[in-house]
């Protein structure tokens, strides 16, 4: 589904990601873990096209999309939920979803409905400005918005960071449910190692912009991964 081959990314003169290889096979959940500053978010932003790749290749369904703009990748089935519960704060929750549905035609309205089924709490908040929602509600809205694009692969950057525990469980359940029943591939960056491993079929540990460990997922691998991350 998504392949990163020898990808190098940086900001200005600073190189952040050095030759990373990563593959998300169709229907799988791949977790990327690492300390703050390891280059996880930079890697994800490059994968979705928000940062230019200095060297290497990004392949989506075997097509080289390295030079594609982000919106084109989205339309090809790659959705992205950035770090920090980002929404369009001055738009209502409904407009946040409608914005994406606009370009989907009839399928858009159905997908809005499906996304709201996944996060029913949002139904009562549709008329409220997204900037006035709580962090957990905004994150649910962000995931819902990504789902309205009709993705086959969703890239999630720390979806439970900074969110109250009750909502964290809802979001984690939704991710597991999407991967299990929706046939969706997931690339997940997550600080919560236990959840990330339980949900994923493969994991990679990133350190100083390089993959330092990789293996099959599963909750039983937590001790190995914590050792690899020196937690």
């Amino acid at each position: 589904m998504l392949q990163l081959r020898d990808v190098h990314v940086g900001y200005g003169r600073t190189a952040v990601v050095h030759g990373v290889d990563l593959e998300v096979p169709t229907g799988s959940v791949v977790a990327v873990m690492g300390h703050n500053g390891a280059g996880k978010t930079t890697l994800l932003r490059a994968a979705v096209g928000l940062l230019p790749v200095r060297a290497g290749t990004v392949l989506l369904d075997g097509h080289d999309v390295t030079r594609w703009r982000p919106h084109r990748r989205v339309r090809a089935g790659l959705a992205y939920v950035p770090q920090g519960q980002q929404s369009f704060g001055q738009l209502t929750a409904r407009e946040n979803l409608q914005l994406v549905a606009d370009v989907q035609g009839a399928a858009g309205a159905r997908r809005v409905d499906d996304a709201l089924d996944l996060f029913p709490a949002l139904r009562g908040l549709l008329g409220r400005r997204a900037g006035l929602l709580s962090g957990g509600q905004r994150q649910q809205l962000a995931i819902a918005r990504a789902l309205v694009t009709g993705p086959r692969l969703i890239v999630l950057d720390e979806p439970t960071e900074g969110i109250q525990p009750s909502v964290v469980a809802e979001i984690e359940d939704a991710i597991v449910q999407l991967a299990a029943t929706g046939g969706l591939s997931v690339l997940l960056v997550e600080q919560h190692v236990g959840f990330a491993l339980a949900a994923s079929s493969r994991y990679s540990v990133l350190e100083s912009g390089r993959v330092t460990a990789t293996g099959a997922g599963g909750a039983e691998r937590e001790a190995d991964v914590r050792a690899a991350m020196a937690l």
């Binding site: 703009r69 959705a79 950035p82 980002q86 738009l91 914005l99 606009d102 962090g135």
Partner: protein, 294 residues
């Protein structure tokens, strides 16, 4: 009482002109953050569109009604050309944009001089806009009433487009968070171009309206562009309703100052008030409230 009403109308009338001049800028500067010094020249292009149409059609009423949409198109296309060729290469470089668009403004002024000549020219107002309407013992010029109605119409249409249409949603999303808009499947390049087209088009409409107030010349835009920027800054960047409130407030203030002093001194006093106001409220009249900045 008459004097008060007269000043009120003068202020509203001045405010409507300011609003028309600033409305397009509220999109291109207020929403997109582009300091486009050639905005006034798009108004000038709209004004000359009305002039050329009147020469071609003859009938002042028909030519005015045709000039309004055509002025929008001319202003919009000039804006689109500027965005595609120059401004799109300079996003996030505001000083470069300011200098380049100032250069473009000078080029457009010279072009107008070469094509239409340096002296000002007149555009006749149609018969149905000549004369005045008696209201409460006052004679209100029809042209001023027309411009007031046009300004209000433009605001309502623009607000509805921004609020209710897919394009409006895309514009608001892109100006709020460009990366997130891209990552939500919105082509922000296409949105930028459309936003600039609409903003510049409204400047063209403003130019057509200005032909009703007096003769027009190559430097028509220069006299309005600073006022237009003032309206957007005082109103609050990125806020359409801020521009509306600011335009009418500044119009009323200026009319009041002009009534009590002279036109030049009124301008000085207005600037003093604006500087003092921005010291107290640098974010402008209307600011955005959210729980997060995102």
């Amino acid at each position: 009482m008459d004097a008060l009403f007269s000043q009120l109308f003068a202020g509203l009338s001045l405010g409507s002109v300011l609003l028309l001049a600033a409305l397009g800028l509220a999109l291109t500067f207020g929403q997109m953050g582009v300091i486009n010094m050639a905005h006034g020249e798009f108004m000038m292009a709209g004004a000359y569109t009305a002039f050329v149409l009147q020469a071609l059609i003859g009938d002042a009423g028909v030519s005015l009604l045709v000039a309004l949409p055509l002025g929008f198109l001319v202003g919009g296309l000039l804006g689109l050309l500027l965005e595609v060729t120059l401004i799109s290469r300079m996003y996030r470089r505001p000083l470069d944009t300011l200098l380049v668009t100032f250069g473009v403004a000078l080029v457009l002024q010279q072009l107008a001089r070469d094509v239409f000549g340096a002296p000002n020219v007149d555009v006749r107002a149609p018969a149905w806009l000549q004369g005045a309407v008696p209201v409460l013992g006052m004679n209100l010029p029809r042209t001023r009433l027309f411009i007031l109605a046009l300004a209000v119409t433009c605001v309502v249409v623009l607000a509805l487009v921004l609020k209710l249409t897919p394009l409006g949603r895309r514009i608001r999303a892109t100006v709020q968070n460009r990366d997130l808009a891209e990552a939500s499947g919105v082509s922000t390049r296409a949105t930028d171009r459309l936003t600039f087209f609409v903003g510049s088009g409204v400047a063209g409409v403003a130019g057509v309206a200005l032909t009703l107030l007096g003769s027009i010349g190559p430097t028509l835009g220069t006299s309005y562009v600073v006022d237009a920027f003032l309206v957007v800054v005082v109103g609050g960047i990125g806020q359409l309703k801020g521009a509306v409130v600011a335009a009418f407030s500044l119009g009323l203030l200026q009319a009041t100052f002009e009534y009590s002093t002279t036109a030049s001194l009124a301008k000085v006093l207005l600037f003093v008030v604006i500087v003092a106001f921005l010291q107290v409220r640098p974010q402008g009249l209307v600011s955005v409230r959210t729980r997060s900045l995102a």
